[in-house]
Symmetry: C2
Subunit: 287 residues, 2 copies
Amino acid sequence: MSAMHRTKDDLIDPGRVAPETRRLCIHTATTRPLPLEIAVDEYVRAGVSGITVWRDALAGRNVRAAGERIRKAGLEIVSLCRGGFFVNADEEERIVAIEENRAVVREAAELGAPLVVLVCGADPAVPLPVARDQIRSGIEAVLPLAAELGVKLAIEPLHPMYADSRSAITDLATANRMCEEIDSPALGVAVDVYHLWFDPSLEAEIDRAGERILAFHVCDWRTPTRDLLTDRGLMGEGCIDIPEIRGWVEAAGFGGFIEVEIFSTEYWALEQRSYINRIVGAYEAHV
Amino acid sequence: MSAMHRTKDDLIDPGRVAPETRRLCIHTATTRPLPLEIAVDEYVRAGVSGITVWRDALAGRNVRAAGERIRKAGLEIVSLCRGGFFVNADEEERIVAIEENRAVVREAAELGAPLVVLVCGADPAVPLPVARDQIRSGIEAVLPLAAELGVKLAIEPLHPMYADSRSAITDLATANRMCEEIDSPALGVAVDVYHLWFDPSLEAEIDRAGERILAFHVCDWRTPTRDLLTDRGLMGEGCIDIPEIRGWVEAAGFGGFIEVEIFSTEYWALEQRSYINRIVGAYEAHV
């Protein structure tokens, strides 16, 4: 496993063009039917180098031991998904959400994940400007603990079709502005091609984000898309120009993992070993 | 019918706050099960003042006679839906689309519709910047005929979830920029709350559009939204602050019809007369 011998400097090499699996990371949610331990072994077998762990994959496990098991197998833990959901019409629930986010940050530290990705939250009963204020307050409340524990937080702008109930932050411009205003080295953004590919200002906003880009997620937009949540495509199956966007994030200085995050009832129904092989092939051909 | 005695000046009254059905227009696609003639009679019965005609509602009819029938019943024809779909990976198909749009403009003139709404088009095989160039070329090719026949064209930015196959123009900023560049009195924009409600720059872009706002469409965003195309909500059923956006378009100078455009398999399955009554009630309470 080359991942065993990888150093941070190896990862940052903007001159390289050919995709290499040493930068390939898979989200456990992508292979949701697999228990964490089997996912880890299958990722390693397929030559995958990184893993982003979803919290449901840790249920019933000792988090610290799970982290050690993952590293021992040869995978780098890229991030923990997910924190956020700071928005609530009910003030008490809003405070509970902040506490929950502190627990997520502690869990990331125990796991050994350097990053928590934030799906910032939205509530159909909360107007978007108020929701964005609640998100900002929530992040500011959690940041001190994150900084103390060495865990970063990434605001992930979501597709506008989730503006009602998942994220009041639906473009990179808003995420960038919030990062600039809060101005903490522990806060940045996650760029997911699925959520942002259509935005005419994307290249400029990626450039503006620069070193604040903490994560880069890939999948594809299928035509037709049959479900708002669980019909994402494998890279190359849809209309997103992933290499172009990858070029932009690398030009902005990002040299970290390229994370495959696909929610798909169709793919979850497949035999997962061959699906992981397809992911690796799609990564090599279309990222 | 007050609509019979309405003048243009009556419509422009920004000081008025209470919704009145003399500004209420329904799209034939909203009550899709009804043949045009029955839709017209039912709208009049319910006190609706305007109608936007979808082209499928004209199938098999003499267009000029249909227009006369509508006006005689007491409805104002607000627009013809829809032109556009200018984007195509196949150059010959692209030229066919331009010819088709000229036919739509002629149809609008025959019907007596002052406006054609453009769903500008997208093709998963065409990169978005190229698609936007094709849209601009297409509009420029159709504008002279539109100006000659006294028909205006409105670019309708669509929700980004349609960026793959329906519109490469997914925000009002891009529509405004295109209007400014083409700079024709026969070209403007259609503001549909469903497509734009989440955009943090919406108020500013509506102000920028100003007199170029040629149409204002309303419905609501349901939580959850169960289908990308046909699960729109009645006004008041979802999370869109329609009165706020209405305030913005009126502050920008718009005093035209407020058009109810709802695609919903759920509502199409209802008895349409009582559904139209519900539309009027939702308009009075939530617009």
